[in-house]
């Protein structure tokens, strides 16, 4: 097994699926010769040619909209958004068609695209390059939403996403693209969609998180290990939500902290907290706490470190549930 980073892992996943299934193609801005601005599609153009690795015009609505049609007519398009924040320029196709086509035609027509792109912050990028729009997609309905936190899951989940009969939004934490390497099998394997993973077991408090924030939470747990025994659930798939795993853990620990980058109000943390109290209120020792971004637009990067949840805020959240 080779040690590879998340960019390489996603590249391997796409490459192996394109070799396996002629219907799979990838399209987006600069995905061809250039291999994408993060090089996720590096080398694919040479191997599969311009009809399957398609450099599109700079038009997100056009890219997503035509991908809808390609999928309706039997292809399996993987759509790269150069940055996930740019998907807003084609968001109406996601909401109007990607998530609705199957229902609107009673299953006669479906739209199983994979829409992927760098998301989240932490790399001092320009405005709209650091968005966490997961709830927009979850609330659009009819779509699955994935956000891996490590190269292994990224590869296995990407392969699952490409094979899935329904549309999948695949959020790739750009901060994690090259920040560390994992042992990842060279051959194809899948990580099931809809299954969260307990990435650290503990008995005092449950942290629920996803994407780049999982790394932060793991660091905090290590830092506090002599004081608090922390369990961490990496959701991996945001929708459909693996509620059972969360409830099971909270029943054991009696405390929950949810950590995400997206703004607090209307963020996914609210949904998770709501489910915890609905299904596990009698087990709770303290209120469920959210550690999130602020209710402001994701800022220009000079303000980024103020915006993003950090170790101090996660520790503060943990302390507040421990000392309630």
């Amino acid at each position: 097994m080779a040690k590879i980073n998340m960019v390489q892992a996603i590249n391997e996943a796409i490459k192996s699926e394109m070799a396996r299934d002629k219907k799979v193609l990838i399209m987006g801005e600069d995905v061809g010769v250039d291999g994408g601005v993060f090089r996720v599609t590096d080398g694919l153009s040479t191997q599969f040619g311009p009809n399957r690795v398609i450099d599109t015009p700079l038009a997100e609505a056009g890219i997503i909209g035509t991908a809808v049609g390609l999928a309706i007519n039997g292809m399996k398009p993987i759509v790269e958004m150069q940055f996930i924040g740019f998907s807003y320029e084609g968001f109406h196709h996601i909401n109007h068609h990607v998530g609705r086509m199957r229902q609107r035609s009673e299953g006669s027509v479906s739209c199983p695209i994979v829409l992927r792109g760098p998301s989240g912050g932490g790399i001092k990028a320009l405005e709209l390059h650091s968005e966490s729009p997961e709830t927009f997609f979850i609330h659009s309905q009819g779509i699955k939403v994935i956000c891996p936190s490590n190269p292994y899951d990224a590869k296995g989940l990407m392969i699952s996403a490409i094979r899935d009969p329904d549309p999948v939004i695949f959020l790739e934490p750009e901060k994690l693209y090259r920040s560390f390497k994992d042992e990842v099998p060279e051959e194809s394997f899948t990580v099931p969609i809809g299954e969260a993973k307990v990435v650290r077991t503990g008995k005092d408090v449950t942290i629920v998180s996803w994407g780049a924030m999982v790394r932060l939470c793991l660091d905090v747990a290590e830092q506090l290990k002599d004081k608090v025994d922390i369990e961490i659930i990496d959701l991996r798939t945001l929708w459909p939500l693996d509620e059972d795993k969360i409830i099971e853990s909270v029943k054991k620990t009696g405390r929950a902290v949810i950590v995400h980058e997206a703004p607090r109000t209307g963020g996914y943390g609210g949904e998770i907290a709501s489910r915890i109290q609905e299904k596990g209120i009698l087990y709770l020792q303290s209120p469920v706490i959210r550690v999130t971004g602020f209710d402001v637009p994701y800022p220009q990067f000079a303000l980024e470190e103020y915006y993003l949840p950090n170790a101090e805020r996660v520790i503060k959240g943990i302390n507040s549930v421990m000392n309630f």
Partner: protein
């Protein structure tokens, strides 16, 4: 240095003039019986339209968008398609669905807000409500056909208002770059609800918008069934033979309100409407038959009666269909419903059972 480096022109096509006189140099390759078939379909569309309008007024169907005045535009274009071609409608294409052979009762059922009407193995896509957005997935459908080397073409319908949407321009651009086998069929019916064409686009014609994307474009008299057929057939043949996309502007007029929820008398004059009444596409084809001596009133009555019977039967069948149950709400959101949807469905099923619905 200063030169003219490109010159462009916009073509206009009319086969039958307002008096039903044919320009024989432009006659499409259609037998007399085929033209009669087309006429029959146009009457069927008109009858369906009249009856659906009345059904809305009596509360039997929901909001309805009348086709009246656009029968030649819809039947003439759809008549040129093959069964395996893809058709992406907007929301006023009842005439296209009829021409494409969609079950008549399903058409009625669809206007009853019943999604089951769109369950189909045909290549007619469901109605698209977001104006203009269908031009892009239509381009994608055509793209897939081309990538696989298939001969099927795609036609997408939209109105003059849709040409203001960015999606329309992106679709023409994608189609132009990849020479996609697609026909962009604009039914320029002069109105987007209350907004007239002159407030919708600065350009004189919709057809000239093709020029900017280096694709074929043509303006056709949209109330001339033979002209519409010819323009569409040429575009289809070109697309099928690798010649790429065409933008067709079918100049017609929305004789009715935007939908049954609208009142066009608030924003347009009777005189304007009357001007177009004289251009009625069904009457024009009748005039043509009279001019060439193949019309008789018995035939006209027979067509009308046959169509009324067909539509009445379809309506009776559609009205007899039981309302969709709670399962329909959940079963087609995902290929395999996730746990949350299964739970929510159970809750609704319980509620429906308790209320005895």
């Amino acid at each position: 240095m200063r030169n003219i480096i490109k010159n462009y022109s916009v073509e206009y096509l009319q086969v039958l003039n307002q008096e039903g006189q044919a320009d024989n140099s432009q006659m499409p390759d259609l037998s007399e019986s085929k033209i009669k078939e087309m006429y029959h379909l146009m009457v069927l569309v008109r009858v369906m339209d009249e009856k659906l309008f009345k059904l809305q007024r009596s509360g039997k169907i929901g909001t309805y968008a009348e086709v009246r005045g656009q029968e030649a535009s819809e039947v003439g274009s759809a008549f040129a398609l093959e069964k395996n071609d893809w058709m992406c409608p907007s929301f006023r294409e009842t005439g296209v669905f009829i021409t494409r052979g969609a079950p008549r009762d399903k058409i009625v059922q669809a206007w009853r807000g019943d999604v089951r009407a769109f369950k189909s193995d045909s290549r007619n896509l469901p109605v698209a409500i977001p104006v203009g957005s269908q031009t892009l997935y239509a381009a994608g459908i055509a793209w897939a056909s081309k990538l696989r080397g298939e001969k099927d073409v795609t036609i997408v319908y939209f109105g003059d208002g849709a040409t203001s949407e960015g999606d329309f321009h992106e679709a023409l651009n994608f189609a132009g770059i990849h020479k996609l086998p697609i026909i962009f069929f604009c039914q320029n019916n002069q109105w987007s609800i209350s907004t007239p064409k002159k407030l919708q686009l600065a350009s004189d014609t919709v057809a000239q918008r093709a020029i900017a994307y280096d694709i074929a474009g043509i303006q056709v008299d949209g109330n001339d069934a033979l002209g519409v057929y010819k323009a569409t057939k040429e575009a289809i043949d070109r697309a099928r033979n690798g010649g790429g996309p065409t933008l067709i502007e079918s100049v017609t007029y929305r004789m009715g309100d935007h939908t049954t929820s609208d009142d066009a008398s608030r924003y347009r004059s009777e005189a304007d409407v009357n001007l177009w009444k004289a251009k009625d596409p069904v009457v024009r084809l009748e005039k043509y038959f009279r001019n060439i001596g193949t019309w008789n009133d018995d035939y006209g009555r027979w067509v009308r009666e046959t169509c009324e019977k067909e539509v009445d039967e379809a309506i009776a069948k559609a009205l007899a269909v039981e309302k969709p149950g709670p399962d329909e709400l959940f079963d087609y959101v995902y290929a395999v419903p996730p746990k949350d949807l299964i739970e929510q469905k159970k809750i609704l099923q319980e509620e429906v059972k308790q209320r005895g619905l």
